[in-house]
Amino acid sequence: MHDIKRDEIMDLYKNPHNKGYMSKPTVSVSKKNPMCGDEVNLQLKIDNGIITDAKFDGNACSVSIISSSVLTDYIIGKSINEVKKIKKNDLLKLIDMNLSTSRISCASVVFSALQNALEDL
C-alpha cells in the first residue's frame, strides 16, 4: 500500500484508462477472482489480427483496476500473436506495485480474462 500512495498509481486508480463498455466488441470475457469472487469483464476489438481497442469493467479493487488499466493500455495496437506472448510476470513488472501474494491474485484477474479471450481466436 505504500506503493499505492505513489501519485501516478493513485491517479490510475482514480482515473483508470479504458474503463467501461464498447459497442460490438469482437470478444468479451468475464473472469472472477477465485480468492474473493470479484469480477472483471474484458472486451477486445480486433481488426486483421490487431487489437484496435480494449476496455474493462466490473466490481474490482484498486489493484485490479490499476492492473486492468495498465494491461489494456499495453495491448492496444499490438497483434494477437504479440499479446499471446505476454506472461503474467510481464504484467506484474509493468504495474510495478510490489504486491503481496493475495493482491497478486487481484492483479491477475484481468490477465486470466485476456488469456481466455485469446483462446477462442
Binding site: 500500500m1 505504500h2 499505492i4 493513485m10 474473493c36 469472487g37 470479484d38 479493487c61 484498486s62 487481484c106
Partner: protein, 404 residues
C-alpha cells in the same frame, strides 16, 4: 474480565512496524499459551496411538483423548461424551450428516430448509445430498435487520420439510439465530434440526440439550483451540442408527474377510488414527474458556459491539449490515462503502498492523441477495480492547482519505 492479553503470545508481535491488532477472529482465533503448551506436553510426554496398545503410553494417550471428549461434552451440555464425535471441523461435521444421515432419512420430494445467511459449508453439502436423493432445498429469509424471525420460519415450514440446517450465528451479519424457538417449532412437526455452531460456540454459552437441536457442529480453531479438529454432536439415539462415515481401523469390533461389526459409538465414527493432539488442545481451550467464563466473554463482546457500532456510525458513507442492536450480535460487524473496495480498506488497515477480513466471507448468496459488494468484516474476541477499536476507527478514516 481479567486481563487475558498476556496469555496470548502472538499479541506481542508487530505487523508493518505497528503492534498487531487482530480483528479477524471469525476466521480463526488466536491461541493462548495454555493450549499450545498442552499440545507440546502431549507430544513430549504422552504421544502414542490411542485405543490400540496395552502399554502405558497408549493408555495415557487414550485417557487424554477421552478426557478431552468429556471436557467438550460438559462444555456444550451434552448428555454424555459418547455423543461427541471428533471431526476435522465444522465443514466435515456438516458433510457427515449430509452424506450419511440424509440418504437414510429423507426421500424424493422432501425438503431441507436452510437460511439465506448460511456459510457455503452449510449450503453445498445439502445441495449435493438433495441432488442425489431428489430432495428440495428452500431458504428462510432474514428480515431488514438481518434477523431470522420465528414468523418467517413458520412460513417456510410444511409437511415436506424434514430437516432444518441453520447457523446459530452468522459469520457475515453477526446475527444470533433463535435456535431454541426454531427447535421447538420443528420438533412439534417431527422435523430434525442441525445447527452450524462455528460462529456461536466461541462466543455463547452452549447447552445442546436446552437448545433442543439434533445435531450441533463447530470448529476448534475459532474458539482458541488448534486447527484441524472439530466436533459433531448428535443425540445418542441418532448416532446409534447412523452409518459410519469412514471405514477402517479402530472403528470395528470384529472383522472377517467377508464383513465387519461396528464398534460402539463414538469410536464407530472415528476410523483411522485420530487427531489426538488436536482433541487434547481443544480440551485445553474449552477449559480456558470456562475459567474465564462464557458470560464474561459475552459481556465483553457486547461492550465492544456497542462501542464499535457507535464509532462506525460517525463515518460518512458507511453502510453497516446486520442487526442494529449490539446484543443481537456475536463479536463481529461487517460494513461497506459504495465506491471503495473492501480489499483496499483492508490493505490500508494492514499497513497499520490491523488484521480484518475483506471479501464475501464464504457467503456469496447472501451478498448477492442483499445486492451489496464485498464487505469489510471486523471480528473481535475476549482479548480485544476499546483502544484497539479506536485505532481501527482512525485507520478506516485514514483509508477513506487515501482512497476517495
Amino acid at each position: 474480565m481479567k486481563d487475558v492479553r498476556k496469555d496470548f503470545p502472538i499479541l506481542n508481535r508487530t505487523v508493518n512496524g505497528s503492534p498487531l491488532i487482530y480483528l479477524d477472529n471469525a476466521a480463526t482465533s488466536q491461541k493462548p499459551k495454555e493450549v499450545v503448551d498442552k499440545i507440546v506436553e502431549y507430544y513430549y510426554k504422552y504421544n502414542s496411538n490411542v485405543h490400540r496398545g496395552i502399554h502405558t503410553l497408549s493408555e495415557e494417550s487414550t485417557e487424554m483423548y477421552e478426557g478431552a471428549r468429556k471436557l467438550i461434552s460438559d462444555f456444550i451440555g451434552a448428555d454424555n461424551p459418547r455423543e461427541i464425535l471428533f471431526t476435522k471441523g465444522t465443514t466435515e461435521s456438516l458433510n457427515r450428516i449430509a452424506e450419511r444421515w440424509v440418504p437414510a432419512n429423507l426421500k424424493r420430494g422432501d425438503v431441507i430448509l436452510l437460511s439465506d445467511l448460511e456459510h457455503h459449508s452449510n449450503i453445498i453439502p445439502w445441495q449435493k445430498a438433495a441432488e442425489r436423493i431428489g430432495a428440495e432445498i428452500n431458504y428462510i429469509n432474514t428480515d431488514d435487520n438481518g434477523e431470522i424471525t420465528i414468523e418467517e420460519v413458520k412460513k417456510m415450514i410444511s409437511d415436506k420439510v424434514k430437516l432444518i440446517s441453520i447457523s446459530h450465528a452468522s459469520n457475515v451479519l453477526g446475527t444470533i439465530v433463535p435456535i431454541k424457538e426454531i427447535c421447538k417449532l420443528a420438533h412439534d412437526k417431527g422435523i430434525y434440526v442441525c445447527v452450524d455452531g462455528a460462529q456461536a460456540a466461541p462466543h455463547l454459552k452452549i447447552n445442546v440439550q436446552s437448545l433442543g437441536c439434533d445435531f450441533y457442529a463447530f470448529s476448534s480453531h475459532k474458539m482458541l483451540g488448534p486447527m484441524g479438529v472439530g466436533v459433531l454432536w448428535a443425540k445418542e439415539k441418532i448416532l446409534k442408527e447412523l452409518e459410519p462415515y469412514e471405514y477402517g481401523g479402530g472403528m470395528i469390533d470384529e472383522v472377517s474377510f467377508k464383513n465387519a461389526a461396528w464398534a460402539e459409538i463414538p469410536i464407530r465414527f472415528e476410523a483411522g488414527t485420530p487427531n489426538v493432539s488436536g482433541a487434547v488442545g481443544l480440551g485445553a481451550a474449552v477449559t480456558y474458556l470456562s475459567n474465564i467464563g462464557m458470560d464474561n466473554i459475552r459481556n465483553h463482546e457486547i461492550e465492544l459491539s456497542k462501542y464499535l457500532l457507535e464509532g462506525l456510525k460517525e463515518i460518512k458513507g458507511i453502510n453497516i449490515i446486520g442487526p442494529r442492536e449490539a446484543d443481537k450480535r456475536t463479536g463481529l460487524i461487517s460494513f461497506y462503502f459504495l465506491n471503495i473496495h473492501s480489499h483496499d480498506i483492508a490493505s490500508v488497515l494492514n499497513t497499520l498492523g490491523i488484521a480484518v477480513r475483506s471479501g464475501y466471507h464464504c457467503a456469496m448468496p447472501l451478498h448477492n441477495k442483499l445486492n451489496i459488494p464485498s464487505t469489510v468484516r471486523v471480528s473481535y474476541y475476549l482479548y480485544n480492547t476499546k483502544e484497539e477499536l479506536n485505532t481501527l476507527l482512525n485507520g478506516i478514516k485514514k483509508a477513506l482519505d487515501i482512497l476517495s
